[in-house]
């Protein structure tokens, strides 16, 4: 096959036959983000009914193992992702914050289910109305409980967010994602931040 007929594209598309040298090139940022998004380690934080659906997502039918995520790390020091699955009560809130603080940067949080996202159907004295009052959340997955497919969509959204976001993130600066909204005089860039 000659070089002309081969499709133009990156190194991976054109195949290793066209390799004239033994180097893989890419940006450092791209490589790091690729590695991070493909090896997210979730921490066990199953609280209530959503935990059962999270375990079902890890089970053989819905298979989180295809993303390399089926091993839930028990120790927060070894985990990147905290999936808050279930309702957070007043007694559990300080424990949640402590586990979040023990996780090492970079870390992400998926709020799974309506109870974790906003208090859900329990708008009363006992439940924290949204886990984003305690920890910063990256992706919200609605549902009561969200089916494993919804959770996987949330995880894939997180992967996309990791690939699109900034490599190093200082607290208060945001994830660096910029979208354009139509304002009064044309598109206005709005950057999605994180407090």
């Amino acid at each position: 096959m000659s070089n002309e007929t081969r499709a133009r594209g990156g190194l991976l598309e054109s195949g290793l036959e066209g390799l004239q040298h033994n180097f893989l090139t890419g940006t450092l940022e791209g490589l790091v983000k690729w590695a991070r998004s493909h090896s997210v380690m979730p921490a066990t934080f199953g609280l209530a009914c959503c935990a059962i659906e999270m375990m079902a997502a890890g089970g053989p039918h819905y298979d989180l193992a295809r993303y390399g995520m089926e091993v839930f790390r028990a120790s927060p020091r070894q985990a990147d992702l905290m999936i808050v699955a279930g309702r957070v009560s007043q007694k559990m809130a300080p424990v949640l914050r402590q586990i979040y603080d023990q996780m090492m940067e970079p870390k992400w949080v998926i709020s799974m289910g309506v109870c974790a996202s906003s208090g859900g159907m329990f708008n009363n004295y006992a439940i924290v109305q949204g886990v984003d009052q305690i920890v910063p959340v990256d992706v919200y997955a609605p549902g009561c409980p969200p089916s494993p497919e919804t959770l996987m969509h949330a995880i894939l959204t997180l992967h996309q967010k990791i690939r699109d976001g900034q490599l190093t993130r200082r607290p208060g600066e945001g994830a660096g994602i910029v979208i354009e909204q139509l304002g009064a005089s044309g598109p206005v860039p709005v950057s999605l931040g994180r407090s």
Binding site: T44, A48, M55, A56, H61, A74
Partner: protein, 441 residues
Amino acid sequence: MTAIEENVHQTSEGAQEILPRDVVSAAQRLRELGAVLRISEAEALEAELERAPDDETMIINMGPQHPSTHGVLRLMLELQGETVLRCKPIIGYLHTGMERTGEDLTYLQGPTNVTRMDYASPLFTELAFSLTVEKLLEIEVPERAVWIRTLMTEMNRISSHLLFMATNGMDLGAVSMMLYGWREREEALRFLQEVTGLRMNHNYIRPGGVAADLPDGWRDGVLRLLDMLPDRLAEYDTLLTQQPIWRERLQGVGVITSEECLALGITGPILRSTGYAWDLRREMPYLAFDQLDFDVVVGSYGDCFDRYAIRLAEIHESMKIVRQCLEKMPKGDYRIQDKKVTPPPRARIDESMEALIHHFKIFTEGFKVPEGEAYVPIESPRGELGCYIVSDGSSTPYRMHVRAPSFVNLQSLPHLMHGSLVADAVAIISSVDPILGEVDR
């Protein structure tokens, strides 16, 4: 008033935790065991002398976030080496105020609330709630509704026991059992989704009957599950029951006697593992269980292995019941046709103004239930599950209390763990099979 204030001042940060040995007297330590303590004077003296000055005991904390998948249970263990001397479970990490929420929701919205208590077998709590409301209303549901409820709750029992087998296996290290259990559970959940629309927290069993009739082709769904399960259960039998490691880890671990169970209020597979044949489906039948032929599975040693074997055999018994439901399912209404309780069929809402108003009133105001109180217990996969409702004549319950079996069964943990190893502690929690949603409500 002063008595309460004294208690409020006494309980400070950490008073729920276990206190170190030198602060606590022998009598208090023995009371912490929480079992029927028929101890002699000699044993009490021995417990006092047990406290040698060079004894090094360590108080460690397990949870509330730990890899054992039983939810947010916190255990404080006092260890001497690897032996557990004392254990105190601390709960409340999932308290949702469901009993308070239940007072603000109408009787038709009630099942959405109570179904989230025991989230591994949600149809049972819905059933207890609906039966209690029907007792207060003094109505009878039609035959077909009774049989549909029996079929669905027994399918839920199968899926709950498969969850137990999966988590029990994983806690003891048989991680492949986790995958197999979830594989079978998906099949049962697929049937439940076909009928109720949801995989979990179905809100299907409501006061007056069930929410919708069984769809066409439901028999195929049931038969598919019944054909697949026996071979798979035989696989688990070979994988686990016959295996020497499994037996060594479970036999003789966490032994309890019937007298202790009765004193502690423990029901369900734990009580039956001691040889006491008490199953509400047989002794005080409800639904259609008096017309069904099934066996009550009983153990003999009261240890963890018996509890595992009982739950495995109960899956077989539930399959027997489901097969009989298949054959005996009568035709008829799936809910009572009493205008006060049942909304009109959806098709009529397009045609008639009265049907629309009737539907509106039932779903916004709710139906009123006469004054009174009632308690109806059923046999859930964990034990006796009961619902106590006090009504004041309005459309919301005045007081709704659910007697959760896991809440009472957790009291057995200090007694079961006394004198065992830390590794056995995980096996024991797993064999008690608590669901923290109904413990904390």
